[in-house]
Symmetry: C2
Subunit: 449 residues, 2 copies
């Protein structure tokens, strides 16, 4: 038996999917009893050279060749972006075809519409490749880890910004210079907004948080800070403080309300996320039973992304063979409250420019004292003209206390600018949040007691 | 609708399963449409105090109360060890009950018998908790990652030895002292053989390698070295060399043949596995499409283990609701060749005792040169009596070259003892092994090209 597949798009990811599906067809047939056959590939230009040599697959520029072919049971979408991908996927679902997609933008922005269409048609939508490339994230969160209340997500989920920050850390160069190099090397787009302003990470966080917290998160509920404000000085100060700067996507649930944020953060070098560099992605998950988990791997690339897409395809084919026509979860998830400005207490890094005069530092210290913010460390390294650069790391403070201290500095007159304020990550805590019912040691041979 | 469950054993893990199942019953019902109800719990002594307050669950000492009750659809086994767990599980499967187990010993040693019984009865066996505690490993290897040829597994999968090695590294104390402390604290058994001699890690490697390499690995095919030979001196020398010592379980497939080994190894501090300390476990996986992946989390403990068991239970219940009666994969896997002594070329750490006389080092260097082994670094730090302790790290050598050098040293007369020989791990390579069909950058908006 074979399953006929229609592929939408044959760019970087699509070509990888063609190659990998062909390479694994035998194994998939052994495992599922059905052989995957890509019949049509929708492209914009049939003449354009492809990264893969086509064998039986037919190129077409007419969407209906794929979407209206009743033989096609599964549609794989690798076009990316919202339109025409959205329209094509909805048409495929309404025709009862199952869909595998790598499209984070679409799932983040139109997930509800797509899942509703799938449920109505008793079809399935898989999107493991949409977040974290090759790393299994969506399926563990929807599967193994549903035994947990997940309280925290924390991830490096955008490769371009991680590459830029890694290079700034390695070379000491500034943001603009590294961005330009990344663009020349093809690691950043000519319009880098989506990546460097944190929007891509925010879309992925929207997807992860919706699954982990069993709700539907909207993109506009994520507080987003990009990395344009990070200077070579910040990177150097962070290094002096034993940290590296990473763009973290953070989701938390506390007392039924969510906090969602993408923000450059100082991460201590001993923290497992600190060693995730260049194009690698990683996600920390804390569950109340599992404790801390981390998933790490390649977040992008033709083959790593195809790895996740073809993994989903295998699952779809297993379901087809077993005759599963029912989607697993309900699409009607409760909406949870999102607190935009109430993150937990934490340490902060504050870089400011102060007039280099006697008594100014005492005034600054006074402002912090009045706001109830105590200082953990102070650096004062580079002086330009009459000004001094001061870096302060606070002890854990609430966002209210932090805001009061910042306002006090602004009112002071002797602080011409507050140049950057970044959170400082703690080293991960250690363990399950639920109290272990017995002790924390699994005996090699627990006895029948 | 409810699903009735029988639980075998109510020790550390079993009590966690009772607690977590009760806590998550509502969510499981929402997700699967069925509510899990633990009806019977088989124990050896009904009077013994439990780590969990029982509500509706009935304690029994008679196995037939659980195994012969037709209402019981799922049996969860948390007894551990081979018997009576094996007999109970086989009886449950033959009665058509699905089985969830945390029993690594049983799956490693009697997996084939159990999977055959399951296939014959059209029942399912889940064992996510058997390796890596809370970390999703079995399901990603059986699911998402089946799109890959997996070439390498490398893991820290025994908590007791990782705790002992972590403490030796932190405190500088010797093996015996740290083992004694670990036993007092309950982190090591009074008979620590299974852990410290590497057998527990070997059993888990047997399970992981069978799944990852699509074959059936036997425990006796794993070359096992424990950590008893690791001294405080080795730990200190490793530190001087920028490494920590970890007990790694390694599986590789090269040209259709496997190499399987559990062995203490020097791991560079910048390697992600180096920061996996105490009770944490981690597994590196390299797939030909996905590239390098790492999974990290708590390898033991009542709640982390229950997290995996209840995750499996949820899967079983979803299958029951959807009416899946078919197991997914075939149990008839091809046997692959295992090469016991043909690991790839690599660097080695050699600690030896030499007579502290002029010319001895030149002789040692001569032996290495003759064997074709070049030296990367040499340490000579501690001298006792008339002897010198010498530590040599080689460049990458084959096992044949290494063996020739060791034999040469033994024949030399001026090397009274070769105290330890340990492999040195390389920093992980960077990427997918299959050539990416286009380039290695995923555009944020890949165009329909």
């Amino acid at each position: 038996m074979k399953v006929t597949i229609g592929l939408l798009g044959c760019g970087t990811v699509g070509a990888g999917v063609v190659e990998l599906t062909r390479r694994r067809a035998g194994r998939i047939a052994d495992m599922t009893g059905v052989r995957p056959v890509i019949k049509h590939i929708l492209v914009r230009d049939e003449q354009k050279p492809r990264g893969v040599v086509l064998e039986g697959e037919r190129l077409t520029t007419r969407p209906e060749d794929v979407l209206d072919d009743p033989e096609v049971r599964v549609v794989i979408e690798t076009i990316g972006g919202i339109e025409p991908a959205r329209t094509f996927i909805l048409r495929a679902l309404r025709a009862g075809k199952h869909v595998v997609t790598a499209n984070k933008d679409l799932i983040a922005l139109h997930g509800e519409e797509i899942f509703d269409a799938a449920e109505a048609a008793q079809a399935e939508v898989f999107f493991e490749a949409a977040v974290g490339g090759a790393i299994p994230l969506i399926r563990p969160l929807k599967g193994c880890l549903t035994s947990n209340e997940i309280t925290d997500l924390k991830g490096i989920i955008n490769g371009t910004t991680n590459y830029i920050l890694s290079k700034m850390t390695e070379t000491g160069a500034g943001f603009d210079e590294v961005l330009r190099e990344a663009q020349e090397l093809g690691y950043a787009e000519s319009d880098p907004t989506s990546d460097v302003d944190g929007l891509d990470a925010a879309r992925k966080l929207t997807i992860l948080a919706s699954i982990a917290f069993h709700t539907r998160v909207r993109l506009d509920e994520v507080r987003v800070h990009g990395i344009r404000s990070i200077t070579a000085a910040d990177v150097a100060y962070a290094n002096d403080l034993g940290c590296v700067i990473k763009l973290l996507a953070v989701g938390r649930e506390r007392d039924g309300a969510l906090q969602l944020e993408v923000r450059p953060t100082l991460v201590p070098k001993a923290h497992p996320l600190a060693s995730v560099s260049d194009a690698f992605n990683a996600l920390f998950v804390r569950g109340d039973a599992a404790g801390d988990l981390m998933f790490f791997g390649r977040g992008a690339g033709s083959m790593p992304t195809a790895s996740a897409v073809v993994g989903d395809l295998i699952e779809v084919m297993q379901h087809l063979r077993m005759g599963i026509t029912e989607t697993r979860g309900s699409n009607r998830l409760p909406k949870k409250q999102v607190h935009a400005n109430q993150g937990p207490a934490g340490r902060y890094y504050i870089r400011l420019t102060a007039l280099d005069r006697p008594g100014v530092f005492a005034k600054i210290a006074g402002v912090f004292g009045q706001a109830g913010v105590s200082m953990e460390s102070v650096l004062q390294k580079r002086v330009k003209g009459e000004d001094a650069q001061i870096v302060i790391v606070t002890h854990a403070v609430s966002q209210g206390e932090l805001a009061a201290a910042i306002q006090g500095l602004k009112d002071l007159g002797s602080v011409p600018s507050i140049d950057n304020v970044l959170p400082v990550e703690e080293l991960e805590g250690e363990g399950p949040v639920l109290e272990d019912v017995m002790d924390d040691v699994v005996r090699t041979h627990p006895e029948l007691s």
